[in-house]
């Protein structure tokens, strides 16, 4: 027998991450993402318009309530509130949908992974990619809003992939944590729906992050940035704005925090993985 792969199965195998195996299953990731994207808007009348309508209505409501009624300042005189909220709602929506889908992913995929072996890590990763399609479609709104208000993006616009990456890494990390927790403790399914709005109000979606600095001081502001969505959302918005210094400090803190969540999440997922079929 020549070059046959040898697999040893026993209790608590030592191997931590098998990257070559993950690489071998890259096509599975591709087809699972493709499946999600193809199936998402099947048998709907509006189809991909939903990817636009969802954040659109949120932006309208935000502009009315926070912009007009509550009169929250955007921090810049020439920045209309709809542009301000649009630049936060779009990355937030991506995070919210990814976070929800990724956290529930193991529960919904249980019928498959209790019948076939493949690297389970793929499962919570799939929504990260499939929801990106929605994200890019919803950028259409951003373009429209900016055209409508004749708002030209600032010179930092090329930096927007950095905060986007922070959002991606943190939702993957949270996905690892919560999908494995929710599979065993189904309480998390309910808790996620309950905490999501709280997470949104904690993130600088409706107000500028600098407000926190003004009100609570510099230390609190930097602690606040440990919540990765602070650097993610504020960084995303800042990169599009004119006359705005890119907030490197909070982006760096949030980035480090996101990487921490990602690594601990992956380790926890790996530790729990062997029990998935038993607790599903």
């Amino acid at each position: 027998m020549k070059n046959l792969t040898k697999v040893v199965i026993e209790n608590s195998s030592k191997k931590l991450f098998d990257f070559s195996e993950l690489f071998r299953y890259k096509d599975l990731l591709y087809f699972m993402v493709l499946r999600d994207v193809t199936v998402m808007y099947k048998q709907t009348v509006l189809g991909f318009f939903w990817a636009i309508l969802n954040p659109f209505f949120q932006i309208v409501v935000f502009s009315l309530i926070f912009g007009k009624i509550a009169g929250i300042s955007t921090g810049q005189s020439n920045l209309p509130y709809p542009v301000f909220s649009c630049l936060a709602v779009i990355p937030w929506s991506y995070f919210a949908s990814t976070f929800t889908a990724s956290s529930n992913s193991l529960i919904t995929t249980a019928p498959i992974f209790t019948k076939v072996y493949f690297p389970r890590m793929i499962i919570p990763i799939v929504p990260i990619f499939s929801k990106l399609v929605d994200f890019f479609i919803s950028l259409v709104i951003l373009v429209c809003v900016m055209l409508y208000y004749k708002y030209v993006p600032g010179q930092n616009v090329w930096l927007f992939p950095i905060p986007l990456l922070i959002i991606i890494i943190s939702s993957a990390g949270l996905g690892f944590w919560l999908s494995s927790l929710a599979l065993q403790y189904r309480d998390f399914r309910f808790a996620i729906g309950f905490f999501l709005p709280i997470l949104m109000y904690l993130a600088p979606v409706a107000y500028p992050a600098l407000k926190v600095k003004e009100q609570l001081g510099n230390t609190a502001y930097h602690l606040y940035a440990l919540y990765p969505l602070v650097g993610g959302v504020e960084g995303f918005r800042s990169s599009f704005l004119q006359n705005q210094i890119f907030p490197w400090d909070i982006v760096a803190i949030s980035g480090a925090s996101a990487i921490f969540i990602f690594i601990t999440g992956a380790l926890y997922f790996k530790k729990m993985e062997k029990h998935f079929a038993d607790v599903a």
């Binding site: 046959l4 199965i9 209790n11 071998r24 499946r35 193809t38 076939v116």
Partner: protein
């Protein structure tokens, strides 16, 4: 000391065991105060209960730990086709799940040499909204193929499935038969070094089943691939496998050539049905001529617990005569699970002459080719002198029937249960 692996072993299983935690009945509260207390501390109890789901280890010796498999050791050489048989709950599925890396063993180890594909189900991950083509790619990658490998096999997969016309139709518009065809077509093209199959042949129509069996034989025989095959289908195990193991209560109780293992299983599998031989005491009638015991015997003269469809079955009834009478008659009335009478063996018609009974002895009713589909059947027993009923016992014995090759065609009545089969021939001009 663990046995050393010989190089040509494709699969080596060493002292394998898997424990699960099973629910234990909780004490019911009978007063309001303790019920309230219980509901308050409920979350804490729930937490420790859910947490403990995964913390079973080989030293756990608690009452709610159940060993689905224990002390399993066997080797499968490259090119062998190993049949795994046993009753429901004997631990076959758990063993396959460990071999397929779906669940981790609690103790022991498995060594696999070569690429493994396991089919515990056909069509895992099929999405009803995707087309047949899209599902071939999705299902194929789930089973471990790469995109390139699927592309190479695509034409052959579609051809094997026989549904070329509907390949661009969403799978939800397919009939269940078409879905199975497509799913098996993908599975048949996995081309692994080790193939693990769980009862997947028990689906689809007869023609397709034959095609699948043929494909399995091809995989196993010509290409020198190793196959592990779980089945309830005794004829298929005898036909396809080169060796078999019998599982009972989570451990291997018999291992050898399929013929022997199947026979051993049919003879010795602890029968769920006839556990109480004193049951005959419950009979009605004056018992002048009564039955006391029974035995099920196969063609070779061995006592069996489970009968095989299409094989000879002897029902041996032990009798006692307390008072003699004229014209003794024995009647066996076979009923299905819906208590419908299927057929009756009436000695008055089928016994040539008049039975001459001793004080004590046995009467055997021999059915040359048992015309029953797999299932459990009840038999009512009657003894008469002429028209006088001396012994009457409804559902006196139960007979469990396993699948068999009734027509001698190599095909089995897989999709049918609990009914009769009648011998017949066909003529095609």
């Amino acid at each position: 000391m663990l046995p050393n692996l010989i190089n040509e072993n494709a699969v080596a299983v060493i002292n394998l065991g898997k424990a699960y935690r099973i629910g234990v009945a909780e004490k019911k509260e009978d007063n309001l105060v303790s019920a309230i207390v219980k509901s308050i501390i409920g979350p804490i109890k729930n937490f420790s209960k859910i947490k403990s789901l995964k913390t079973v280890n080989s030293t756990s010796n608690e009452s709610d730990v159940f060993w689905a498999n224990r002390n399993i050791t066997f080797n499968v050489k490259q090119g062998e086709v190993l049949g795994i048989i046993g009753k429901n709950g004997a631990g076959k599925s758990t063993l396959l799940k460990m071999l397929s890396r779906i669940t981790e063993p609690t103790e022991g180890r498995i060594e696999l040499q070569g690429r493994v594909a396991s089919l515990l189900e056909v069509g895992t991950g099929f999405n009803p909204d995707l087309t047949g083509r899209e599902n071939i790619y999705l299902n194929g990658t789930i089973l471990g193929l790469t995109k390139k490998e699927i592309e190479e096999r695509y034409t052959s997969i579609v051809e094997f499935s026989g549904i070329e016309k509907f390949i661009e139709t969403p799978v939800k518009r397919y009939s269940s038969g078409m879905k199975v065809r497509l799913a098996f077509a993908v599975a048949a093209h996995l081309d692994p070094e080790i193939l693990i199959i769980d009862e997947v042949l028990a689906v689809g129509d007869a023609e397709f089943q034959r095609k699948c069996l043929g494909k399995m034989q091809e995989v196993a025989g010509k290409q020198g691939r190793t196959v592990l095959f779980v089945s309830h289908d005794m004829a298929a195990v005898k036909k396809l496998c080169t060796r078999a193991i019998l599982l009972q209560k989570g451990t291997i109780v018999y291992e050898g050539i399929p013929e022997h293992v199947v026979n051993y299983y049919l003879q010795n599998a602890a029968s769920i049905v006839n556990d109480n031989n004193n049951f005959f005491d419950n009979a009605k009638g004056n018992k002048h001529f009564e039955l006391t015991q029974f035995e099920l015997i196969n063609e070779q003269g061995n006592i069996i617990q489970i009968a095989e469809s299409g094989k000879q079955l002897e029902i041996k009834l032990y009798y006692k005569v307390h008072e003699t009478g004229p014209d003794p008659v024995v009647i066996l009335r076979f009923k299905n699970n819906l208590e419908q009478v299927l057929f009756t063996c009436l000695s008055r018609n089928s016994y040539d002459g008049i039975m001459s009974l001793k004080k004590e002895g046995s009467i055997s009713c021999i059915i040359p080719s048992l015309p029953l589909l797999p299932g459990i059947y009840a038999v009512d027993l009657f003894c008469k002198y002429g028209q006088d009923v001396t012994f009457e016992l409804e559902e006196a014995l139960k007979i469990e029937v396993e699948k068999g090759d009734f027509f001698g065609t190599g095909k089995l009545n897989n999709d049918m249960q609990n009914g009769m089969i009648v011998f017949h021939n066909w003529k095609v001009d």
